[in-house]
């Protein structure tokens, strides 16, 4: 599903954000990526999103070699990937329904399908009653749930979450993780970049630990490791 072969990424000459990363994630896996700031976690997500191109090495996602992917093919590729950010990134001038419908409009889904799928996605995250509310009227946890609904409404094969609980209290953090786990149960491959030790240790999922651009550990049912 996701494969990185000896991937290097240098932002400026000689400074490597990723330095020879080899990684294979199978379909339907739930993977935590942990590490200190600057360890290369976000670069890894950006490379999988094809926001960045690697300096060397090969990235294969959903059977497609990203190195050879043409610019015009990127939108179609991204439609198979859902993404959730720490700061939610909702459109403040649109209500919750419109925020989720937006993800479908972008993919040129018909209005008939949008009317069916948006309420379904809202139900999955438990916000069906609040579809008319605007982001500022919701708590942080609710806003992140909307972001998850937006990420899953197009039924992506992969869900990338970059610090999804970074701005949330423990209760809300657990609710968000539960939603991500439910998406994983429905067959979506989930990659979560996080600093939340409690969650990582508790959930007993695969944990990839990064440090200074390299993978220092990869455990099947791992915990949060502090690499010094």
């Amino acid at each position: 599903m996701i494969e990185l072969r000896d991937v290097k990424k240098e932002y400026s000459k000689g400074v490597a954000a990723l330095n020879g990363v080899n990684l294979k994630i199978e379909q339907g896996e739930f993977v935590f990526i942990v590490g200190d700031s600057g360890s290369g976690k976000s670069t890894l997500i950006s490379l999988i999103m094809k926001e960045l191109d690697p300096t060397s090495g090969t990235i294969i996602v959903n059977g497609q070699n990203l190195n050879r992917m043409k610019h015009r093919k990127i939108p179609m590729y991204r439609r198979r990937i859902g993404v959730v950010f720490q700061d939610f990134r909702l459109l403040k001038d649109r209500n919750i329904y419109e925020n989720i419908a937006f993800a479908q409009r972008v993919t040129e889904t018909s209005s008939r399908v949008i009317k069916k799928k948006v309420p379904a996605a809202l139900s999955l995250v438990g916000l069906a009653q609040k579809y008319k509310a605007f982001p500022k009227e919701l708590s942080g946890g609710e806003q992140q749930r909307v972001a998850i609904a937006r990420a899953i409404v197009n039924e992506p094969a992969i869900l990338l979450a970059d610090e999804p609980t970074g701005n949330l209290d423990p209760t809300n953090s657990w609710e968000i993780m539960k939603l991500l786990e439910e998406a994983n149960d429905r067959g979506t491959t989930v990659l979560v970049v996080t600093h939340n030790q409690e969650i990582v240790n508790e959930m007993k999922k695969r944990v990839i630990t990064m440090k200074k651009g390299v993978i220092v550990s990869d455990e099947k049912k791992g915990g949060y490791r502090h690499e010094n």
């Binding site: 939108p75 991204r78 993404v83 990134r89 459109l91 937006f102 409009r105 972008v106 040129e108 209005s111």
Partner: protein
């Protein structure tokens, strides 16, 4: 692009205008000013052309014959002149016509002074062809052509009138084109600024669109619509204004300067708008498109 996506993009384009009210209003106002001035200069130029055309029709070359020229020779000269390039029509003026016209012009109300010439036409050898020009610029060639014809004694022409009319016409055209070009460049610049503002305001939304998998066209379409709409509205306002102002202006000129009534004639507004309306609208929409399309390409590498 699907119809629903098209509708959505249009709606977003309208919303963009609302979000950057000040910039949008400034762009529409500048565009309106440009198209207004374009319309104004266009009206002046076409009317001037029309006046010049009418005046050109009155600019004639006079072709006189040799004393011994036969009627057959004169007919041949007339035919050849009619066929010459740039000639509108050729009129034969007999010696009697020439004398009558001269009497009218010279003696006026004191016609009795011409009585002495009653039986002796002083212009007996002055029958001629009056050659009216279709294009004054070709007058010189026609004169040279006429002078080379057999049986022609002399060709009178009005070089000064012809040259002045042609060069004033050219000058007005050049000045108008220069002013219009500068104004259009300003319009493109302002629309580009408005779209840049729109991109800045919507940076977050655009980033989200890209993450979700929006195609370049989907991201760009609302901005293009915004530019087109600004261009369209910016063109319609001055075109409507000019339509109503045009006739009022002509009425005003004609009443204020009643002397002009006999000399010049203005084009009716419908005739001016046959070209001005499509060209003005195309200019507005075209500038809107160009301004937004190239700006969005520059600022939005999606």
């Amino acid at each position: 692009m699907k119809i629903s996506t098209f509708g959505y993009s249009m709606k977003q384009g309208v919303k963009n205008i609302g979000r950057n009210k000040m910039f949008s209003v400034a762009s529409i106002a500048t565009m309106a000013a440009c198209i207004f001035l374009f319309g104004l200069f266009y009206s002046i130029v076409v009317n001037f052309n029309y006046i010049v055309e009418k005046a050109e029709e009155g600019v004639a070359i006079t072709v006189f014959f040799n004393k011994e020229a036969t009627q057959a020779q004169k007919d041949k000269i007339g035919k050849e002149l009619e066929e010459a390039d740039g000639v509108l029509n050729v009129k034969y003026v007999s010696a009697d016509d020439a004398w009558n016209s001269f009497q009218g012009n010279y003696f006026g109300e004191s016609a009795e002074l011409a009585e002495g010439f009653k039986s002796d036409n002083p212009l007996a050898t002055s029958d001629n062809y009056e050659v009216y020009m279709e294009d004054v610029a070709k007058q010189k060639d026609v004169v040279a052509f006429a002078e080379g014809l057999e049986g022609v004694r002399k060709v009178n022409r009005s070089d000064l009138v012809a040259k002045t009319l042609t060069s004033v016409n050219k000058l007005v055209g050049y000045v108008s084109v220069a002013i219009i070009a500068i104004l259009l460049a300003v319009s493109v610049f302002l629309i580009s600024n408005t779209v840049t503002m729109g991109v800045t305001v919507r940076r977050e939304e655009i980033a989200i669109m890209k993450y979700i998998g929006a195609k370049d066209g989907f991201v760009r379409a609302p901005f293009i619509f915004e530019g087109l709409l600004i261009g369209f509205v910016g063109a319609v306002i001055p075109l409507v204004m000019l339509y109503f102002m045009y006739e009022k202006a002509i009425q005003y000129v004609m009443t204020k300067f009643s002397l002009l009534n006999n000399i010049i004639d203005f084009l009716p507004v419908i005739d001016v708008y046959k070209t001005l309306l499509p060209v003005g609208l195309a200019l507005g929409v075209g500038i809107g498109f160009v301004g937004s399309f190239f700006t969005i390409r520059k600022h939005l590498r999606v």
